[in-house]
């Protein structure tokens, strides 16, 4: 009897320790990145690092503003292109799909999540970039924010669709039944009752998709051009800013880390710290929203 008691208590502690271990790993990664990047914060200064618009390490200029702008624009583009698509896919699978179609579409979307990002980059490089290059704007090289946004939109599709579908499914049946009983059509119910109720879950899904988009590296390096200037419109039409080449924060680290030494290496770790903080913010926001949804 004593042995079973010991095993019972012991197992609980072992599980606790393994959970603490994963917590420790996250903590250590954060501390390590912060420690390596700290000289960059002290020597370059937070202001110059975040708002400086010139990144030329050979001339001791370390301004991350072009990369911040690049990451932000690409993520925004991915959300603008990908979220409506994901939402419609989620509504389709939760509400209107016949079960046979749903059984084909869902594995297909989940397969999208499993494709390695370098394959997405290859697809973007070989198919999307020449297609974007067809747009008749002078200075359009195909590489740039538009191609990168399209690739990212496809990459965040599984995340956002999955969570949105769960949110839609967890809307209580009574809401739907009540609405239909009052004489509304299915579509009116979806738009007027189900989507508003699932709103916080859907937003949580979008925010997680944003987190995924912010962290994407390999596919971005291959299609965005990696130029070191902030994105700018190519001619008098401000919309052509989406055809500008750019560089993301993640791409900045990946392109330069293999040969960086000294202060440049510290600056790249500082970029990592910035990314880390952005992801923490994004994930916390998503968790808060999802908890709200479950209670309310």
């Amino acid at each position: 009897m004593r042995l079973t008691y010991i095993v019972d208590r012991g197992a609980k502690y072992v599980l606790l320790l393994t959970a603490l271990l994963s917590l420790l790993v996250v903590f250590l990664i954060g501390i390590f990145t912060l420690r390596e990047g700290w000289p960059a914060f002290t020597k370059i200064g937070l202001g110059e690092l975040l708002s400086g618009s010139v990144w030329r390490p050979q001339m001791d200029r370390f301004g991350l503003w072009p990369m911040l702008a690049g990451s932000a624009m690409v993520t925004l583009g991915a959300v603008v292109l990908g979220v409506p698509l994901s939402l419609m896919a989620a509504i389709f699978m939760a509400e209107t799909a016949p079960s046979g179609v749903r059984n084909i579409v869902r594995p297909a979307i989940e397969l999208l999540a499993g494709i390695p990002s370098v394959v997405y980059g290859l697809f973007g490089l070989v198919v999307l970039v020449p297609m974007v290059r067809q747009i008749p704007v002078a200075g359009n090289q195909g590489f740039g924010i538009l191609a990168a946004s399209i690739v990212l939109a496809v990459m965040i599709l599984p995340t956002v669709t999955n969570i949105s579908e769960d949110a839609i499914r967890s809307v209580p049946r009574e809401y739907k039944e009540g609405s239909l009983a009052l004489g509304t059509t299915h579509w009116q119910t979806i738009v007027g009752v189900i989507l508003p109720s699932a709103r916080s879950g859907i937003i949580a899904g979008v925010i997680l998709g944003i987190g995924r988009a912010l962290g994407e590296t390999m596919a971005m390096i291959m299609v965005i051009g990696n130029s070191i200037i902030p994105p700018r419109p190519l001619d008098s039409n401000p919309l052509t800013i989406v055809l500008s080449t750019a560089r993301t924060l993640t791409g900045n680290i990946a392109v330069e880390i293999s040969y960086a030494t000294g202060l440049q290496e510290d600056a790249l770790f500082a970029t990592g710290v910035v990314l880390f903080l952005m992801i923490i913010l994004v994930n916390s926001a998503a968790r808060l929203l999802m908890r709200g949804k479950r209670n309310g």
Partner: protein
Amino acid sequence: MRRFAFVALLVLAVVVAGCTTGTPTAAPTQAASEATSAPAKQEATSAPDESGTTISVAGSTTVQPLAEKLATAYRAIHPNVEVTVQGGGSSVGVKSAAQGTADIGAASREVKQSELDEFPNLNVITIARDGIAIVAHPDVAVDDLTIEQVQDIFSGKITNWSEVGGADSLITVVSREEGSGTRGAFEEMVMGEEALIAGTAILQQSNGAVRTTIATTPNSIAYLSFGYLDDSVKTIKVGGVAPTEENAANGSYSIVRPLNMLTSGEPQGAVKAWLEYILSPEGQETVVAEGYLRVN
């Protein structure tokens, strides 16, 4: 339970922190170069016998195909010696050789004084010389450029092909990343002290990627190692001189740089034998056959 969890976390943190102090800054540079260099095979530099030795070469993508051909030729004579060749760029080559993560570091430029100051153990052996050609997309109509025009195009002063006698279209500049030896040599010999390569340039991470980009991007221009020239890109004469091996050998084509192999300290054992082979008449024959220039 909660107090136990807290104490356990503290103990784990202290234990792990104790294990990591002592290698604060060596660890990230090591990790960074290990991520991109061949795995270290320290035995190769000290074991004089050749039974199953491996020599790891890392660095310049210009030297990479030449090193692979030299490895194949050497294996015909010494079948027990295996040479693994990786890219990453010249600065990676310098770092890998100095830190011992590769047996031989390959660089397609002169080693900088700052690198010699930082790594005084570096031993430099020039195995060949290589020309850098100016290449453009096959449809570009321009055949000849002066050095000043090349400088102005790459620095962004000249932006349209019509300014140098071509069609009226914007020039797309493609360049290597900052750590590239090809770029370093190009900047030193063509751009000079003041002019910088334009921030709007598209960056690619290897000679091969540059070639593919030029071959598929209309109105593009880049610099490319002689060893990577093929029919998919068009070469442009500089000051009336065509980028051929004869012109580089007789001195009329001036954009030529050394291809260096670097070791930490004097080379030993199998590494020394291979390097001596490369500098021998048979090795230099292979160098010339691959489109590079001999050193003796």
